[in-house]
Amino acid sequence: MNAQLKPREFPLPSSVKVISGTEGAQAAYPYHIQFSKADDQKFWFYNSMHFPEPMSAFDMVTAEAAYCALGASNTRVHCLPTTLGIDHRIINGRVYIGGNAVTDPKEIVRRTAEFQKRAFYYYQNWESLYAHWKQKMLKLIEDAKAMPDPALPEFEPLEHVHAGRGIASNHDLLVTYQKTLEGYFRMWHHHFEFLLLGYGAYLTFFGFCKKAFPEITDQTIARMVAGIDAEIFRPDDELRRLARCAVELEVDAHFREGASVDDVMRSLRAAGEPGRRWLEELQTSRDPWFNINVGDGFYHYHRSWNDDLSMPFSAIPGYARSVRAGEPLDRQVERLRVERSQLIADYRELLANEEERAAYDQMIALAHRVFPYVEGHKFYCEHWYTNLFFNKIRSFGAMLAAHGFFANAEDVFHLTHYELEAAIIDLMNAWSSGSEPRGPAYWPPIVAERKAAINEWARHETPPALGPIPDVIDDPAIVMLWGITRESLDNWLSAGAATDSNEVRGFAASSGVVEGIARIVKSVEEISRLQQGDILVCRVTNPTWTPIFQKIRAAVSDIGGSMSHAAIVAREYGLPAVVGTGNATSKIKDGQRIRVDGGRGIVTLLH
């Protein structure tokens, strides 16, 4: 693109065409999330942070449930003064969102009064409400775990009949499905119950620091606030514990590089008492700490450690070697705590006067108060619960596949949740009438068409934003959750001019400069390609990936901010990291030599 001819505005939604041949797949999404002419009046941006890949028909439930809950919290529960909720639309598998700002000053005043009665109550009673939240969340998880896998016996079990149960097993399918769906929508309400308030308190401190110390880095502020024993570190802590157990029980030699999970499990089972005891320890760690997904849990194919043990097992040999070498393995929690206090005290000392120090004390106290939730909710909501949810849907997929609806269970994710209910009812009817279900003739070509559409959509770029550019982005929800400002929009508009540069820019997440060989890792299956000393270049990382940080020299991701998983763990390991580059995995070639400057957020392609 010629630099002089860069576009001044983004395309209108109505000008974005459904890619030819994918119209059927596009039509699967419900009417209320299809773009209409009226949407041309509004500004939309592509939510590549949460939905970086084209969405399959079922996975759109995540957007639907999440925005339903986010908006309710903002608009109706806490009454944020300057913003309502977020609208979402989908085209070519890409999720676009647009915020609804409140601009009428009178309305802002009215909502401010409501906000202070509601949100302030949450701040004042944070710990007890958060304890209550954890109870609710654990109950929800228990309920989800207790739900039976769907099954249709040939004859209703005799004990049901004798007990006068009065409903047959086909009805249980509907109950389980609807409860599963209801649980997912409910989980997202829990997810947003505190979230904006938590981010708001954090950003209050963040904004103050940026004003008092204009050149302070985001990562330094993050370090002052971040928790030290947050849930996010637990899965990796458990792996270290298991590695230590393996050495103590002298079973660590069973974890050979390159051995499959089945081989390792077999040889541990054959290893007598020590093997049995280690497997018991594994069981303790798995529930719940291996319920972390290889993505952020928004897609059905973000599987967990529990679903695939190869990731955690691949990390054990390295940790076991460290134990054998007598190296300290545990995170130095006390040292980290002391360092954090020192950091806070050092910045405090530099403030101009006692007034500023008093304000600083007030703001960091609040940030520390809210942060356990901000960090902790992800494990319960986006990992543990979404994992249960998608696996339950998968079990419906397996049942439908067994009845000939699909070639395999995973195909279920190409139906919307409305269509899935219809397919389940089709099967319920067939089971009751004794006829054949209609689904086996109906769904396979549709699934094939939608799979092809997803592949096609993934091959096309999509505009970063649509519609008229607002003069100012003053919506705290948009700024907080997506980091989108007027400045970043201007960068998007001029991005075309910079495509031939040999630099990739992102958030400076963890400082330090290193050079090395880039290893593009697009999925968890490719992790085994990482060699000691490589630089990890990936779409996004999450707690599952933590153990590989012992192998790499630096990390670069397409997605994420200074509080993202990759950033937090890189700081923990003292590795340079640049996150949220947008396009590192497509611009950098596998095996290419690159320089990562984590202090400036710049990746340089060397040749």
Binding site: T82, T112, P214, E215, I216, L350, Y360, L366
Partner: protein, 350 residues
């Protein structure tokens, strides 16, 4: 050894001695006391200047000639300036002062032969945080031999009678009896790299970062603006380097074999390479922080790295003045209900 009447070594003085050793001398003594490496040296105190001027006064009036000038009489001022400068530069120093300077200079020579020194004026009003008299007096670099040192001391004193200095004093009505000058005589650093350091961002006023600028060779190339320095911004607290600007440093200043300073080209690829290592940046950060803590306020610092020992030496430190005068803006204040702080985010910025 005789007790020095006119000379003080850096180790024996501090900021409190400024009335007698001037701003520069007091600051160097203070740094030395704080445990900072400064090039070895001594101060020729104001008593020496006063004694010398008293002798001149006995021959014919000097201070009265200045006080008789009108602030706007530039022509008359020029004539008086020329006359007084010549009288100062031509008159011999008193014998006891000569002896003290020769002896002290000789002791600097124990460190390296032949001792090359900087002779720098250290006015009693200069470098004070409130009145900037800086730049009106002279500095002479790479001075060798005691006779030359004494000549340059007289030149420093004479610079008090430059047209600019006289006009400055006449405009402000400063009494001549209060005017005095000390002179710093300090070993030159044969610098591999030299530069400046601000313990507060000159751009944003941020107190949490240290800005370091440096170039190859002597600091004069950078101070005079003949070379664009490399520039780093380092977090004062964490040491993270947030900005690294490595510039093309085409020339450097070096000690000339024929005396003084010469300009030399910097060869490739050195000219495009950083003139400081990360370890040196880290040492400078620690030094900057130590000096700032010692003085209790942000500082502008000149430093150099010795070509032979690779040791970092501090040449000068003075309080930062630009931002400290703007300090009235407060980022936020305490509020009765701490929760009201969140309205900064939720209340909208319209």
């Amino acid at each position: 050894m005789i007790v020095a009447k006119y000379i003080s070594w850096f180790r024996d003085i501090g900021l409190d001695d400024r009335p007698k050793v001037g701003g520069k001398g007091g600051s160097l003594g203070e740094l030395h006391r704080a445990g900072i490496n400064v090039p070895a040296g001594f101060v020729v105190r104001t008593e020496a200047f006063e004694g010398f001027v008293d002798v001149l006064e006995q021959r014919s009036p000097l201070r009265a000639r200045v006080e008789g000038l009108a602030a706007d009489d530039l022509e008359g001022m020029g004539a008086v300036s020329r006359e007084l400068r010549r009288r100062i530069e031509d008159a011999p120093l008193p014998a006891d002062l000569q002896q003290e300077i020769r002896e002290a200079y000789g002791r600097l020579g124990e460190l390296r032969l032949p001792p090359a020194v900087a002779v720098r004026s250290s006015a009693t009003t200069e470098d004070a945080a409130d009145a900037s008299f800086a730049g009106l007096q002279d500095t002479y670099l790479w001075v060798v031999q005691a006779d030359s040192v004494m000549r340059k001391i007289r030149s420093c004193w004479a610079s008090l009678y430059s047209l600019e200095s006289l006009s400055y004093r006449r405009r402000r009505g400063i009494a001549e009896s209060t005017v005095a000058m000390a002179v710093v005589v300090q070993t030159m650093v044969d610098a591999r790299t030299a530069g400046v350091m601000f313990t507060r961002s000159p751009i944003s006023g941020d107190r949490s970062v240290i800005t370091i600028e440096g170039a190859w060779g002597l600091g004069s190339a950078l101070v005079s603006g003949e070379v664009t320095p490399d520039r780093w911004v380092v977090s004062k607290i964490t040491g993270e380097i947030s900005v690294r600007e490595i510039s093309d440093k085409a020339i450097r200043h070096a000690r000339s074999p024929v005396g003084g300073v010469e300009e030399l080209p910097v060869e490739e690829p050195l000219r495009r390479e950083p003139c400081l290592s990360d370890a040196e940046l880290e040492s400078l950060r620690a030094i900057g922080r130590q000096i700032e803590r010692h003085y209790g306020r942000p500082q502008d610092i000149e430093w150099a790295i010795d070509r032979h020992t690779q040791q970092i030496l501090l040449l000068q430190s003075r309080p930062e003045t630009v931002w400290s005068n703007k300090d009235s803006q407060t980022a936020a204040t305490r509020v009765s209900d701490p929760l009201l702080q969140v309205m900064n985010i939720f209340g909208g910025q319209r």
